[in-house]
């Protein structure tokens, strides 16, 4: 039962990453990220429940509160303020991107087979999905032009790392987890401020225009 919930949620996270690749409306992309984080929270809570590790409940609560609610809300506010709602044509079109992502998922699963015996079964899927999400996040980052999408790509990578953390190690030490969450929030806030300033200055959120510095 627990295993099914875990695999279902992790698969949901992977699907949300795929949908993000196919998505051009920024609001929807942010909602997808929010859903992804909620699923991550459920994964953490399920593991906490089944293995009776109570500090993982706090991790789950933090994930839901910060990544599921606070960060998406903040990013939506940034978009509202600057009034840009759609991603422009990416460097690679959507069908081709999705094909690439399928390939990346295969790679992710292939790498996950190298983990030790204990990581077979459920953990095997968690790691495979996490590595696939990591690669998809990287792919999003290099093919998209809008600053917000790049932030979302970075956050997807971050979620993938957390999925590995809960999937393989059943959570990092609590203090470390807290510090990491705090740093991530701070980074997103600063990125949001920078996006605001970039839009004010260049009247666009297209980061491919940031190309004066070379050589």
């Amino acid at each position: 039962m627990t295993g099914n919930v875990l695999i279902l949620c992790a698969a949901g996270m992977l699907v949300s990453a795929y949908l993000m690749v196919a998505q051009k409306a920024l609001f929807t992309a942010i909602r997808l990220y929010s859903a992804q984080s909620l699923l991550l929270g459920i994964v953490a809570a399920t593991i906490a429940f089944s293995e009776a590790r109570h500090d993982l409940f706090v991790t789950a609560a933090l994930t839901v509160a910060l990544k599921g609610i606070l960060i998406p809300w903040f990013l939506m506010r940034v978009i509202d303020r600057i009034g840009i709602h759609r991603e422009i044509e990416p460097f690679l079109n959507v069908p081709a991107s999705l094909m690439v992502c399928v390939g990346l998922t295969v790679v992710g699963y292939r790498v996950s087979t190298g983990f030790p015996e204990g990581a077979r079964g459920v953990s095997h899927h968690l790691i495979g999905i996490a590595l696939s999400m990591l690669l998809i996040g990287l792919f999003l980052m290099v093919t998209r032009k809008k600053a917000i999408t790049q932030i979302l790509a970075l956050l997807t990578v971050e979620n993938a790392v957390f999925l590995v953390a809960v999937g393989v190690t059943s959570g990092m030490p609590f203090v470390v987890e807290l510090g990491i969450s705090f740093d991530v929030i701070l980074a997103v806030l600063i990125l949001g401020v920078l996006v605001g300033r970039i839009v004010d200055r260049f009247e666009s959120m297209d980061v491919s225009r940031l190309s004066k510095l070379k050589g």
Binding site: L194, V207, L213
Partner: protein, 495 residues
Amino acid sequence: MNLLVWTLVVPLISAAAGGLGGPRPFKEATLVGGLLLTFGLCLATANQFLGGIVPAAFGDALRVDGLSALVLVLCGFVGLLSAVYGVGYLRRNEARRLVTPRMRRKFYALIPAYVFAMLLVSVSNNLGILWIAVELTTLASVFLVTFHDRDTSLEAAWKFLMLGSLGLAFALLGTVLLFASGQGHLGEGMASLNWTRFMQVAPELHPFTLRLGVVFALVGYGTKAGLAPMHTWKPDAYREAPSPAGVLMAVGMLNGALYCILRVHLISKASLGPEFSGGLLLMLGLLSVLIATPFILIQWNLKRLLAYSSIEHVGIMALGVGLGAEAGVFGALLHMTYHSLVKPVAFFSAGTLAQLHSSSDFDRIGNGTFSRAPIASAMLVLAAVIMTGSPPFGLFFSEMTILRAGFLGPHVTATAVFLAALILLFCGFAYQVGRIVLGPPRDPAERRIPQPERFDLGMGTMIAAAVIAVVSAFYLPGPLMALIRAATQVVWGGA
């Protein structure tokens, strides 16, 4: 509270005081006084270590061994220099009415905050705290990159933060995988991420997971150190950051990131043997030196030139460690020390020239700066001579040590390529610096600069830094040498 904790708390207080309002002399005093005290505390901590006590706090989450002590002292030193020069820097800009109260607050708060984060990196024994501290250095420095609020500074800050965050995401994954590789052996709670714990159970770590973790962690922290091919943020950030912040990045951050790399390397070495991570370091280091060479030859901006020089130097350090010989490790740590002593001179002289000409681009500075700003130009030449590894200065000895270790070891081809690149780098640097400093100005208008060079606090700091850099070639204080040896023992012996 113990000494180690005070070393970290003092810059934090200084940052808080700097972020508040208050008259200018008060702020200058808190910045310089705070970082002077910090440097003193760093020395005291290192001294405690040399005295045979291992300074530690929070259940060994913070712990000072030889490597930590060396990086700590170097960070404290450069923090102090940067603070004193920074006060002079702001005064110069203040005289030209370029500084708003907001900028002032930002500067006086972020410089000590940045120093705090770097010191925290250098004393972290816990891999989780280490990651958090490195992320803090990134966050503290973003708004220093945007300090001048130009179009290009936003671009630089964006690239800096995106690449830095991505690198740190990799480093975090690396940390998680390292932790995963030791499941069942590391124990419970906070101490399970301690580096010392990893070293104790090194033979038990799961090889595949460890390998994957080491690759991610090295690439991630390598991004922060500016190892090629993850170096692309560096030239942009160096150009845009004010020179007091630039020197913190080029010395403090570089040493701190190298510290992280070495910690990961040591875990890998203890568990998998020296070839795996050593080979990676050798490759990344050589690549950095090779990539820096052409970009130095075609460079169009003085501070970007320094950035490529720092990519080269971090490459040399990584290469020295990667050679897998004790002499190579010693050479790398000696290189780190001498590099930390000379880089401030380069930044302060380049910064002074940039301030006088209101830009660090070569075409804005023009030729023949020697006739306009003789002292800063002379210092730039001196720094270039030292940085390119000319005898009799320190970097010559460290590079010779590394070369010797390389030619005696199994990696002769790599060492030969490295030597060739060093020679090209020397020529490139000589060409670029000679072009700026010497030669007649192209037209008479170039002879005039907005502000003549005059003796002020910034120049005083520059000269003091130059004296230290030159003297260190002939005389390294005994305790500093002891620290380098202790650090070598950590990196070579793993103790």
